[in-house]
Every structure is written in C-alpha cells, then in structure tokens.
C-alpha cells in the first residue's frame, strides 16, 4: 500500500534537506511501513514508525487477526433472488420495523460433559440405570448382601442367609409377638426380637458415618460421587440432592461409610479438593434435629 509508493519520489539525500523545516516533517526519514501476513491463522502484523511528541522515533507494531465472517459462496440464482423486490406484507416494511434482530444473548452449544472427558456410564442405555433414574436415582446397593447394582434390598436372593434378618420371621409364618393375631398390626418395635430393630436404629443407619459433601457441580451424579469416595473404603449409601422440579442437582450430597475411620480419612483428604472446577467441602453431616 503506502509502503510501496514511499521509497520512490520521497527519497531525498539528507544534504539536500532544508534545515528551516524544523522538526515538523521528518516522516520520510522513517523506514517504510511493513505489512506481514495474514498467515494461515489470519494473523496480520503491521510495523510502522513515527515520531512521538518529543521527537523520538517510535516503532509501532500492530497485530490484527483477519477473519472471514461469512462464506460468500452464493450461486448465481441465489444472487438473482437477492435482488428480488419484496412482496406481500414485506412491502410495507419500513426500516424501523424490527422483525429480524440479532440475539443479544450469546448462545453456545452446551455440551453435556466437558470436551475430552471420557464417556461415563450415564449414557442411559442400560435398563438398570434407567430404572434407577426413575426411582429417584438412588444407587442400587443391596443392604443385605452388599451387592451393587444387581438388585434392591427387598429383592435380595440371599435374604434368608443374611444374619440381620435371621431372627425376623416373615409375618405370615408365625406370631411375631406374643398375644397377637395375624390380622392385627404390630409396630415394628414389637416384632420378632423386640428391641433389636428399633426406629432409632433404622434412622441411625442413615446418619452413621455420614459425610456431607457440598459445592458439587451440577453435573455430579451419584455414580460420580461413589467413584470418588469408594477409594477410602466401603460406602453404604450415596445420595445427591436433586431439584424436584428440574431434575438438576442442587449441589450437595451425602455419603455414608461403613467404617468411621474411612469417613474420617475421606474428610481429611477430600475437603478442599478440586472437583469439576469447584472446591469440594466435605464434613461430618449433622444429624437431623428430630
């Protein structure tokens, strides 16, 4: 551009310079403007020289990126159509009629998982997972035999072998408490061995060695949490709070460990641990007030 024309006519010998010009116009002394690129990334570099206010020579390098916004690859017919006059309701359209506008919001293609991460088992193809999703997405762990993902506690085939239920005969087979007929209701505390399965104990199962995990990312599901906490020891329950309306995680959950020491180690290790761009907060869960 300008660089090409500069060297020719304006190249004067310094001896021929008129001293009276003062410091006003020495631009022709400057090296010509150099434009490099644009290279394959569209980066264009322009090097210019000028004098600043104090008369110092300054080199100015401007780097710009050139980007083709629209791929103009219209066919001849499409170009013809471009010139078609408006018709129908569009005729009366003045420029002020804002039928078409560009969204003020930047819309991105929201990816369900971070690019590059490997696919998890949440692809929802298996029936078991789909069923688990319907049942409030509780991870399927049998409390009787400890098998994971195979069956629910109530459907356990090893129910009869499990030690906890040994002294609990099925209600139909015999009188569960002295003096009660078959049709009368027996509170759970009075059944079988009486005090060995009280309501408090049942609740404690949920409260025991319970660890509260907060500041979870929205995408964290129970399997992810299990994956994270399994390394510290056997886990009896994983729960992630889910918004009832939207099905989106509310950002906290609970993990119950079988052993207290494991829970302690998990808290020590994972509190402040970075998980999915967020810093986890892991602490003992406070028991429910009631």
């Amino acid at each position: 551009m300008a660089a090409a024309t500069l060297p020719g006519p304006t190249k004067l010998r310094w001896g021929e310079l008129d001293e009276d010009d003062g410091g006003d116009d020495f631009d022709f002394l400057l090296p010509p403007r150099v434009v490099e690129g644009p290279d394959e990334n569209g980066v264009k570099r322009t090097v210019e020289y000028r004098f600043d206010d104090e008369g110092n020579k300054v080199k100015v390098t401007t780097t710009t990126r050139v980007r083709k916004l629209a791929r103009a690859r219209l066919s001849k017919r499409a170009l013809e159509r471009r010139a078609w006059p408006k018709f129908g309701d569009a005729v009366r359209e003045d420029v002020g009629a804002r039928l078409t506008m560009v969204s003020t919001e930047e819309i991105v293609l929201e990816r369900p998982r971070a690019p590059g991460s490997k696919q998890e088992e949440t692809s929802m193809t298996g029936d078991a997972l789909a069923a688990a999703g319907k049942a409030g997405a509780v991870l399927m762990v049998c409390r009787t035999c400890g098998r994971k993902g195979d069956h629910w506690t109530s459907k356990c085939p090893y129910k009869d072998l499990a030690p906890q239920t040994d002294n609990l005969p099925p209600p139909e087979l015999g009188p569960s408490a002295p003096g009660t007929g078959k049709s009368t209701y027996v509170p759970p505390g009075m059944r079988g061995g009486g005090g060995d399965r009280t309501g408090t104990e049942m609740r404690r199962r949920n409260d025991e060695n319970s660890v509260r995990v907060t500041n979870l990312s929205e995408d964290t599901r129970e399997p992810d949490l299990l994956e994270l906490f399994r390394t510290f020891g056997p886990v009896s329950r994983v729960y992630v709070a889910v918004d009832q309306k939207t099905g989106v995680s509310r950002g906290f959950g609970f993990v119950n460990f079988v052993h207290k020491e494991d829970a302690e180690r998990a808290i020590n290790k994972l509190n402040g641990y970075g998980y999915d761009n967020l810093i986890l907060r892991v602490e003992w869960a406070t028991p429910r007030p009631n």
């Binding site: 629209a70 791929r71 690859r73 219209l74 066919s75 017919r77 499409a78 159509r81 471009r82 078609w84 408006k86 018709f87 129908g88 309701d89 569009a90 005729v91 359209e93 804002r98 039928l99 078409t100 506008m101 560009v102 969204s103 003020t104 919001e105 930047e106 819309i107 991105v108 293609l109 929201e110 990816r111 369900p112 690019p115 590059g116 696919q119 692809s123 929802m124 309306k245 939207t246 099905g247 989106v248």
Partner: protein
C-alpha cells in the same frame, strides 16, 4: 453464536424449509401467512397471503420457483415464490397436514386429516409445468392408517411414499399402486404419535421424532431401525445435518403444561446427537416454548428452529462447531 431472531409470525411455528441453494428459508405458522426469509441475514423477503387457517407444512420446488403449502383451511395452494401470487388451490374436504414435491417436481404428496367422518388420506397430485393447466384430480388416494398422518414424504426415486402419524407406525407405500409395502416393526418402532420426519440429504435414510421422547433413524428402503436417540421430552422436530454426522432433535414439554411448571423444566432446547454413536453432543437453548420445527441449511453451516413462542431462530454455527471431537 448469536442467533438471528425472526418475529414474523404471531402464532406458533409449524414448519421450516430451506430451498436447495440454502439462500431462502420458508416458514409456516398457525397464523395464516407462510413467509419467506433470506437465510443469511434473516431479512424478510415476502409473505404468501391467501390461506384462511393454520398452515401446517410447505415445500419448495428444486428450482425455487414454486411453493406448495398445506393448511387447516382444507386447501393446498401453489404459489409463485418470487411474487407471492397464488397459482392454484386444491380443495379438500378435510384439513391438509403434510405436503411434499417429488423428485422432479412433477408430483406432490398431500395428507389430509380425519375430519367430519372422513378418514385420513394420502393423496398424490400431478403438478403441471404451466399452472394454467393444473387440475385438481388425485392420481392416487391411499386410505387406511388411523388418525392423522403427520408426515408423508417420497421415498427413493419416487417409487415409494413413507408415512407416519398418530398411530405411531411408519409405513412404506407403493407410489403407483398405493399398495402397502412395508410396516415398521411394532416393538422397535415408536410407541406414540410420530410428529416429524426428515430425510437425509441423499434420501437413503430418514429420522423420525415422536411423542414417546425418542427420535429414530431408519433405512428408507428396508425400513430397518438403524439408531435411536433418547430425549427427556416429547420430540416435535428432527433434522439431519447434511455436512456432519449430526442429527438435531427439538421438542419440549407439551404447550399446555408450560405454565404449570418451572421455566427450567421445559427443556426447550435443540439437542445435537452424533448420528452414529447416538451420543449427545450438546444443546442449543433460547426458545421459551417447545420447538416445533427444525431445518438444516443445505450447506450444513447453519440451522434454524421454530418454536411455539412464534420465533424463528437462525443459528450460524461458530467455527469450533465443525471441530467437535467425540
């Protein structure tokens, strides 16, 4: 990307169609005027005035001179694309639901709804080159399927007609005799109303969307089920990318439930799936009503969606869309 919003319709959108070169976008809505837009900047080129009911479907001829629209006012109209003049009007005794030109634009398939005791039909009309010689006789009339036939399209080489509708069964008909050739397998097929059907660019396979919250990919000749894409909401609209191995499905909860639930629960997003891996690639949000129609630009570099909210949103993909790795 910053989508272009086009608010030319006062009622929910029903259908979107690009012409072959991808420079024009035709939109149909429940208001009575189909509209044509420039597909690059979203400027309105014109409207086609004359219908007296919701317009359900349209198709444009390969040379972009003729438009055919099917409407609930029991007519199917032929239009001159350039001037918006009505060339011909086919009259039916029930609302028209789906229309499509055949390859070569010599025939058009039209479906009509069950109405006032008339069963639903699939009809084939001859389209005259010169619209002054156009006749209204049907070359072929197929009756049989129960309920509305929401989509009927031409199969490969115009030899067949593929239809799907409220009875959730996809059928392939012989386009000359009207004989039923194939019926989709009941078990692997859709369980609820088929709402949309979209062919691939080469016509070898097609995608159907259904209220059973899935979209399914089928072979157009053998009607074998190729892929299934699961969504969380009823699927109203589907489209296949002509450029990449992507499909996009749109939908959302039923319009009647929108006001009763949380805004975020609607899931009014266009979801992208990998066509072969059936894996979700991502979602494009923006509509505040269910998505009723989706269309890919034939160059695959942009797509548009029409929603129950009355907006057409025209999305030009960002460059990184084309580098998505699975």
């Amino acid at each position: 990307m910053r989508p272009i919003l086009m608010k030319g319709h006062e009622r929910p959108l029903t259908f979107l169609r690009y012409n072959r070169e991808g420079d024009l976008l035709f939109s149909c809505a429940k208001d009575h005027t189909p509209t044509v837009w420039f597909a690059d900047n979203g400027e309105r080129l014109g409207t086609y005035r004359g219908h007296n009911g919701a317009v359900w479907c349209c198709d444009v001829s390969r040379d972009s001179t003729r438009l055919i629209t099917g409407s609930a006012d029991q007519t199917v109209k032929l239009w001159d694309v350039q001037t918006g003049a009505q060339l011909y009007s086919f009259n039916f005794d029930s609302p028209a639901r789906a229309v499509e030109f055949s390859v070569g634009d010599k025939l058009a398939v039209i479906t009509t709804d069950p109405f006032m005791g008339n069963p639903s039909t699939i009809q084939v009309k001859q389209i005259a080159k010169d619209s002054s010689q156009q006749t209204s006789e049907s070359v072929l009339t197929i009756k049989g399927p129960q309920g509305r036939i929401n989509r009927a399209v031409w199969g490969p080489l115009n030899k067949t007609i593929i239809s799907g509708g409220e009875d959730a069964v996809l059928r392939i008909w012989d386009s000359e005799t009207g004989k039923l050739l194939k019926e989709a397998d009941q078990e692997s097929g859709h369980q609820k109303t088929i709402t949309s059907l979209s062919k691939s660019a080469d016509g070898s396979h097609f995608l159907t969307g259904s209220l059973d919250k899935t979209a399914k990919l089928w072979d157009a000749r053998t009607l074998t089920l190729l892929k299934t894409y699961a969504s969380e909401r009823p699927v109203n609209a589907v489209a296949i990318s002509p450029l990449l191995d992507h499909v996009v499905i749109g939908g959302g909860q039923e319009a009647s439930h929108v006001t009763t639930t949380d805004r975020r629960a609607g899931k009014f997003e266009a979801k992208f799936f990998h066509k072969i891996l059936q894996e979700e690639i991502g979602g494009v949000k923006g509509h505040f009503g269910p998505i009723n129609s989706l269309a890919f630009n034939p160059d695959g570099r942009s797509f548009s969606s029409g929603g129950e909210d009355g907006y057409v949103r025209l999305h030009h993909f960002d460059p990184d869309y084309f580098n998505i790795k699975m």
